[in-house]
Structures are given as structure tokens and as C-alpha cells.
């Protein structure tokens, strides 16, 4: 064994010793406890930082999930799989995650809704149009067709249909609810995916006005409310469905002249 070899050996060994020692001491003296669960949970989250859970990003949710101030199934994007993983990490069983989907409750598209005299000039976003009494359409309650919900969707699950009404692509939708927040007219609502009957109108206008501004509005005739034994109630010229009392058979769909109350159905082509 030559000296060169030994010196090299000793130098590196020595340096290793010094720094390992320093780090060991530092580790002892300077340790700060952090819940290791946070990191683990963060790892199983989708990492889209969409905020659908109501917390400021995935890491924040992980922090809250770790000390159980957020439910393990709180991540709407990750779905059941993520919920199960988190639950497993936390040592609990996850509750059933009900899938929620956004429903656009207005059918007053470019064809149905009546336009104003004046054409709107300005930024084509719903929120900006809402400021100027709603862009081109006369209705104060309906869809503005500006596509704020489409821009807001981080997953490309909202598209603007040809008639100027947004459509939800269910297979891409994660139920994060951003479109709901984006809509200045509050016509998008989250509903359980299996809920199919809706009143597709939000207008509180009196019958005459609502008929004059849109051909598919709920005119507040209240026929459905009278026939459905509390399944539908009237609120200021608008039919509202009470899903707890709803009995589908009792709703007189054929009596609704504007077809405001309808069912979503999947039909195979």
C-alpha cells in the first residue's frame, strides 16, 4: 500500500467523518418535527392545485387531511381511488364518494333568448357583460354565452355549444366546481350525477316578461307545483324542485309549455 492511496483514503474518510458528525449533531440539536403523513398524503394527491377541495392547493389539503381537519374523501378530483389511499394512510375507511356534476340550468341559447336593440361591444366574458346589464340578451337571469365557465375549467370539460350554451363533457369532468364559481348569473349548480330532473331556468321575471325575453323560460305558471305534491315549489315566479319530496311520475312534463322542466337522459345512438 502506497502512501498516496492511504492519504486519499484517510482524507475522504476524514471528511466524511467530519460532515457526518456535524450533520448528526445538527440533526439532534436542530430537529423540527413535522407530521410525516403530510408528505405521504401529498404524494397521492393529483397535484393539479385546482382548489376544488376548498383549500389553497394540494399541499394545504394534505396538511389538513393529516390532522383530520379535512375529510379523506375531500379531494373531488382524485375520486374514490385517492380517497381510499388517503384513508388507508390515515388508517380509516373512506366514506362513499358521491360523484357531483355541474348542470347548466338555462336553455336560453342564441335561438331561444330574445336580443336587445343594441349590440354589445366589449370584452366577451360573462362577468364583463353582466356589468352592462348582460350583453346582448334581454333576460337578466340566463346564460350570457360568454364562456367564463369554459375558461375556468382546468380540465377542458366545458365546451361552448353552437347555440351559445355551455355543455359539460361528463367523462372529463372532475366535479371541482370551478365553473359554478365562474358563472356570474349562478346558473350552474353541482348535483349528484344520478340526479336527472331539473328546472332549466333561473328567471324570476313575471310571466309576461319572461315569455317576452325567452322562449324556454319558466313562466311561473305553477302547474307543476300544483300537481307534484310538494316535489316542486314556486319561488317568486320560478319553479324549484325539492329533491327530497320529488316523485318523478307526478311531474306533468307535457303541461310545461316552455319545456323548462326536463330530464337529462343518456341515449345510445
Amino acid at each position: 500500500m502506497d502512501t498516496q492511496f492511504l492519504i486519499a483514503l484517510a482524507t475522504m474518510g476524514g471528511l466524511g467523518f467530519i460532515f457526518a458528525g456535524a450533520l448528526a449533531i445538527a440533526d439532534k440539536k436542530l430537529r423540527v418535527e413535522e407530521n410525516p403523513l403530510i408528505g405521504d398524503i401529498n404524494d397521492v394527491l393529483p397535484g393539479a392545485n385546482c382548489g376544488g377541495c376548498g383549500y389553497a392547493g394540494c399541499y394545504d389539503f394534505a396538511c389538513h387531511a393529516a390532522d383530520k381537519s379535512a375529510p379523506s374523501n375531500g379531494c373531488p378530483v382524485g375520486g374514490t381511488e385517492t380517497a381510499l389511499s388517503i384513508a388507508r394512510l390515515l388508517g380509516e375507511e373512506a366514506g362513499e364518494v358521491v360523484r357531483f356534476l355541474p348542470r347548466v340550468l338555462c336553455r336560453g341559447g342564441n335561438v331561444e333568448a330574445v336580443k336587445k336593440y343594441s349590440t354589445y361591444h366589449g370584452p366577451v366574458t360573462c362577468s364583463a357583460m353582466d356589468l352592462l346589464s348582460g350583453g346582448d340578451k334581454l333576460c337578466f337571469y340566463g346564460c350570457l354565452s360568454g364562456g367564463d365557465c369554459v375558461t375556468a375549467c382546468p380540465f377542458g370539460a366545458m365546451v361552448m355549444g353552437e347555440n351559445g350554451l355551455p355543455e359539460v363533457i361528463e367523462s372529463l369532468c372532475t366535479g371541482c366546481g370551478k365553473c359554478v364559481k365562474a358563472c356570474p348569473r349562478n346558473i350552474i349548480e353541482m348535483h349528484p350525477a344520478n340526479r336527472k330532473v331539473f328546472v332549466f331556468c333561473k328567471s324570476h321575471d313575471d310571466p309576461k316578461t319572461s315569455k317576452s325575453v325567452c322562449s324556454v323560460s319558466c313562466m311561473g305558471c305553477s302547474i307543476c307545483a300544483r300537481k307534484s305534491d310538494g316535489g316542486v315549489v314556486m319561488d317568486n315566479n320560478l319553479a324549484i324542485i325539492d329533491y327530497d319530496k320529488l316523485e318523478l311520475e307526478k311531474i306533468p312534463f307535457e303541461k310545461c309549455t316552455t319545456k323548462a322542466i326536463r330530464v337529462i337522459e343518456m341515449v345510445e345512438k
Partner: protein, 231 residues
């Protein structure tokens, strides 16, 4: 899932899906610095692959023995050792290349690809898989370097592999062998890569949209439906 665990898959991963440069944005420093010519790019790529392979193997072998607090320090010493070996061997055997790559050989130590793969893959997987992963990453890195190197060499000095490929009348754009040109080239390539991915994604979304549109109807329930409705 079982398919993605195969060594071949680990290898292919690095070539495009998780290409260290275009997807993970790792190891940009040597990428920009050495790609003035293809030869340099290839040499750098091979050197990096060598270090990547051996350090991944060693790290996945000894991962259980290392306490967490000195994990980074230990890994990086292993990496640095292999880099030094490459450096010494190159100086002895390929002095010209060693001169061209200059100070960038030692910087392989801090190439984020290597520590990144050590952390993200080798410290969690078996020796065999780590080996293939390292090879894949190395190959992806080398390929990227070759692409960038060839563009810069052609545009910047009219040459490819050191041979003149464009007629004399075309004056080379020197900027491409300068730092600024390196940034611009990589930026544009990156944009092209993103564009490709974007298109792929858009297609998927488009597919989902058309699939859904054909099946969805807003109507009264079938039982009471009285008239045909618009789709």
C-alpha cells in the same frame, strides 16, 4: 400496471415520455453549454449515461444501508466519484475531448438528472429496474443533446460532425454557437415538443367531446315524451 414495471418500459420511459430535458427540465446547464457540436453532445451524453448508470446501480444497491439524514451527502459522493473517474479517464485517453468539454465534466456531478433519478427512482426500486431506468434516461438525454447539437452545429458553423455540409455562400450564424443561441435553440425545441404534446392532448379531449355529444339528449323522460327534441 404490470406492463409499466417491465425493464423495457423503464428504458423507453426516458426516451420520450419522461425525457429528462424536454419533460422534466433537468440537466439544462450541460445541455446548453456543450451542444456547440454533435461530437461534444454525444460525448457529454455518454459520460452522463455512464455516471447515471453506475451511480443508479450503486445507490439502489446500498439504499437500505444509508440513514436518511446523510442520504443526499452519500448519494452525491457516489456520483462525484464516478464523475471523477470519467474525468480522469478522459484526460488520459481523450485529451482533446476533455479539453472541449472543459469544465462541464465535473458539473455532471450536479446534473439534476442524476441526483433526481437517484432520489426518485433508484432509491425506491430494484437494481435491475434502476439500471434500465438509468440507461433510458441517459439515452433520452443523449438523444436530446444530439438534436440540439446538430441544429446548433449546422446553423452556427455550417458543419455536421465537423464536416462542412452547407455551401460556402451561406454564411454561418455565429450566434448559434454563443450562449444566446443555445437558449434560443432550446427554447424553440421546447416549444415544438410542447406543441406536439398539446396536439395529442387536444385530440383526446376532442375525442371525448364528440363521443359524448352523440349520446346526450335533453328531453322529457321517455315515458312521457311527446315530441322529438333537438339534440
Amino acid at each position: 400496471m404490470s406492463k409499466s414495471n417491465s425493464p423495457l418500459n423503464d428504458f423507453m420511459n426516458g426516451i420520450w415520455k419522461q425525457n429528462p430535458i424536454f419533460k422534466q427540465v433537468l440537466g439544462t446547464c450541460p445541455t446548453l453549454a456543450v451542444t456547440v457540436s454533435i461530437v461534444n453532445g454525444v460525448a457529454m451524453g455518454l459520460a452522463t449515461t455512464f455516471v447515471l448508470l453506475f451511480s443508479s446501480l450503486i445507490i439502489s444497491m446500498i439504499k437500505k444501508l444509508i440513514p436518511n439524514q446523510v442520504r443526499i451527502a452519500a448519494y452525491i459522493v457516489v456520483i462525484a466519484t464516478f464523475v471523477t473517474i470519467v474525468d480522469i479517464v478522459m484526460k488520459a485517453q481523450f485529451p482533446d475531448l476533455s479539453k472541449a468539454l472543459g469544465p462541464f465534466i465535473p458539473l455532471i456531478v450536479v446534473n439534476c438528472i442524476i441526483l433526481g433519478r437517484a432520489e426518485a427512482f433508484a432509491s425506491k426500486n430494484t437494481v435491475v429496474r434502476s439500471g434500465f431506468d438509468a440507461l433510458g434516461m441517459g439515452a433520452g438525454f443523449t438523444l436530446a443533446l444530439i438534436v440540439i447539437g446538430s441544429i446548433r452545429e449546422i446553423l452556427g458553423s455550417n458543419k455536421l460532425f465537423g464536416f462542412v455540409v452547407l455551401p460556402d455562400t451561406v454564411e454561418p450564424m455565429l450566434i448559434f454557437i454563443l450562449p444566446a443561441g443555445a437558449f434560443l435553440t432550446l427554447g424553440i425545441l421546447f416549444g415544438i415538443a410542447n406543441n406536439y404534446e398539446q396536439k395529442k392532448k387536444d385530440k383526446e379531449i376532442q375525442k371525448a367531446i364528440t363521443a359524448e355529444r352523440s349520446t346526450k339528449l335533453v328531453t322529457a323522460p321517455a315515458s312521457v315524451q311527446t315530441e322529438t327534441e333537438e339534440a
